[in-house]
Symmetry: C2
Subunit: 341 residues, 2 copies
C-alpha cells in the first residue's frame, strides 16, 4: 500500500522529515517496500494545503525557507477538517510542545485517531499528558499512536524497549535526557560559571531565549513521564514528578565532584520500587567510571536496567532537525512493517 502522509506543522522537524523522505524515496521503496505521498500540510504560518495525489514538497520547502506562504494546492479547510476529510492514512504531529495543556496538538491527535488514521509524533505534549487515553483511542480505532521522537529525538528508546528488549522486565531507567543542560554542565567543568555558559549556549542555539524549560528540568520531566507511562506502564502525571534543574550548581559544587572522581549530570530517573513507579529529575554526582559519566556535550543517553540482560545503555543525539525528522521516519516504517505483514 501507499501511505498518504499529512503533516501538522512545517517547522524544523517537518522540513527535516520531508528532506529525508525526498532524499530517500527510492531507497525506502527498494529496501523496505515503503511507498508514500505527502498529501496534506497544515502550518499556521505557511498555510494549509492539500492535494490527494501528492504535494510538490520541494517547492514548499523552498517557500518555507524563504519565509513565504505556500502558493499551491491551498485548502480552505481548518486543521481538524483537513485531518478528517483528506485521503491521509497517517498524520505526523509536529507542532509546538505545550506541556501544560497539550494543545493544540492533542486535538489534532484525537481527531486523527477517531478518523481511523495513524498518528506519529515528536510532540511531548500529547505523549506526556495523555498517552494512556490516546493509546486506548488508537487501539479502539485499529490504528497506531507512535511517539519515538518525544524522547531524545530519533535515538531508539521507546522502540528499543518495545522491540528488541521485549521479553525483558525493565525495573529502572536512568538517563541524560536533555542536551542543553548536559552541554552546559560539560562547559562548566572546563571552568565557566553558570551565567556565562548559559549565554554561550544561547548564542550557539542550544538554549532558547527563555531557557526555563531546559535548565529547570521541565523538558527532562516531560520525557521521564513518557518513559514511566509507556515503558513501565505507570500512569503518572507530569506534575507528580519531583523536578530540580541545574540552576543552583556552583563552581564549588563542580570542584567538589572532581575531588571525588565524580561529575554532575542532570539525571532523569524512573524506577519500580515495591511495585510502585517512582520518577524524578535532579542533578546527581556520578562516578567517572559509570557509562553515563562519559556522555558529554549535547549527546543524550539512557540506561535500562533489565532482569535478563542487566544494564543496557544507548547513547545518541537528543535533538536536531534531521535526527528528530528520523524519529518520525522510524515510526512510519514501523507502522508500514506492521501493516504489511
Amino acid at each position: 500500500m501507499k501511505h498518504k502522509i499529512g503533516l501538522l506543522g512545517f517547522g524544523t522537524v517537518g522540513q527535516g522529515l520531508c528532506e529525508i523522505l525526498l532524499n530517500k524515496k527510492e531507497f525506502l521503496k527498494k529496501k523496505y517496500g515503503f511507498k508514500f505521498d505527502i498529501v496534506a500540510v497544515a502550518d499556521f504560518k505557511f498555510g494549509n494545503v492539500y492535494n490527494a495525489k501528492g504535494l510538490d514538497i520541494e517547492k514548499m520547502i523552498k517557500e518555507a525557507k524563504a519565509g513565504k506562504k505556500f502558493t499551491q494546492d491551498l485548502a480552505d479547510w481548518d486543521n481538524l477538517k483537513l485531518i478528517k476529510k483528506s485521503n491521509t492514512t497517517v498524520w505526523c504531529e509536529l507542532t509546538y510542545t505545550d506541556l501544560n495543556t497539550g494543545g493544540p496538538a492533542i486535538d489534532h491527535v484525537k481527531t486523527a485517531l477517531k478518523s481511523g488514521k495513524h498518528v506519529v509524533t515528536s510532540n511531548k505534549g500529547p505523549a506526556a499528558l495523555f498517552y494512556p487515553q490516546m493509546k486506548k483511542l488508537a487501539d479502539k480505532n485499529g490504528v497506531k499512536f507512535k511517539i519515538e521522537g518525544t524522547v531524545v529525538a530519533g535515538t531508539p528508546v521507546i522502540n528499543l524497549a518495545e522491540g528488541p528488549l521485549a521479553g525483558c522486565t525493565i525495573s529502572k531507567i536512568r538517563g541524560i535526557l536533555n542536551g542543553t543542560t548536559n552541554y552546559m554542565l560539560t562547559e562548566m567543568e572546563k571552568g565557566m560559571a553558570y551565567d556565562e555558559v548559559l549565554k554561550v549556549a544561547q548564542e550557539k542555539g542550544y538554549a532558547e531565549a527563555d531557557p526555563t524549560g531546559d535548565v529547570e528540568g521541565y523538558d527532562a520531566r516531560g520525557k521521564v513521564t513518557i518513559l514511566a507511562n509507556i515503558v513501565m506502564g505507570a500512569g503518572i502525571k507530569i506534575t507528580d514528578v519531583p523536578c530540580n534543574g541545574i540552576t543552583k550548581i556552583k563552581p564549588a559544587d563542580i570542584e567538589k565532584a572532581k575531588k571525588q572522581n565524580k561529575r554532575w549530570k542532570l539525571i532523569g530517573s524512573v524506577e519500580m520500587i515495591d511495585g510502585k513507579v517512582e520518577a524524578s529529575v535532579k542533578p546527581e554526582m556520578i562516578d567517572l567510571s559509570h557509562p553515563l559519566a562519559g556522555v558529554m556535550g549535547a549527546t543524550n543517553a539512557l540506561t535500562f536496567t533489565t532482569d535478563l540482560l542487566g544494564d543496557v545503555t544507548i547513547v545518541g543525539p537528543g535533538a536536531g532537525k534531521i535526527e528528530t525528522g528520523f524519529s518520525i521516519l522510524t515510526d512510519l516504517l514501523s507502522i508500514s512493517r506492521e501493516m504489511e505483514n
Copy 2:
C-alpha cells in the same frame, strides 16, 4: 498460534532459554500473546526427545544439571529426522560453534529451513560462514532465519540495526565485541602482565583452557563478518578479515597509552570505504573521551555511524547463560510478531 519449539543443543544457552521460557510463560502470553510448547530437544550428551504435545522441561533441566541422560519421551530419530518429522514450527540452533566448517549446525539450519521451519540461532558458525545462502533459503521457504545472539548475546545489535535504525544508512560499525579480551585489557591496565591476567580470566571462567579463539581475535572476527554481511550487505568471507589479537600487548604499551590519555581496546571494525566494505579486528589506542573507552570489564559495546543520527552506541552484556538465552527469546518474539500481524 502456538509455537512448537525445538532445541538443538541443551547446554548453557539451551538451558538458559528454557529457564526464561518457563519463568515467563504467563508474562509472555499476557503481554505479547506468545504461546509455545517445547516439543523436541536434540543433544548429543543427553539424548534426543520428542513429544508433540510438549516436553517436561523442568524435569529435563534437573536431569541435565545432574549430568544424567533424558529419561522421558526418548525419540529414535537422529537430529535431521527430528527436525523434519516433528511438529516443530521453529528450531533454536544452540550447538557448539565451528568457525571453520559451520558443522554440524549448518546441516541443522539447512534442514529446518528446507522443511519450512523458522530458525533462531546464537551459533556464529552458520551465521559467519553462510548467512547469505541461509537467508535466501529462508526467504524461498517463507520462513525466518534470525541470529541476534551471534553478536554480543542478547544486547540488541542486529535487531537494532534492522528495526529501530531502519531508514538510516550505516557507514561504519566499531565495537568491543569480545568480553574476555576486554576484561583482560581492563586488568592489564591495573598492572598485571598478560600471562598473569590470562590465568585469572581462566580461573574466573571468562577464558577457555585453550584461549586462542578469544585472545587471537577469532571470536571477534566471526562477529565482524556477521555484521559486515548482515548489517552492511557485504558478502565477505571470515578469512577475508585481517585479524590481530591482544597477545602482543606488553606493559610498556599500556603505559604508552596512559601517557597519551588513551587506552587499549580490541576493536572490531566494519566500514564502507569507496563503496567497498572493509573489515578488521585489531587492538587500538582509543582516546579516553571516546564512548567505547569507558566500556570496561566483560561488557561489550558497538557504535553505529549513520547518515541521519550520527553515532549511536549500544552498551550491554556480551555473554552469559541468561543473556544469550534472551537473544533467542527476542528473535522468537520477533518472529511471533511478524506472523501475527
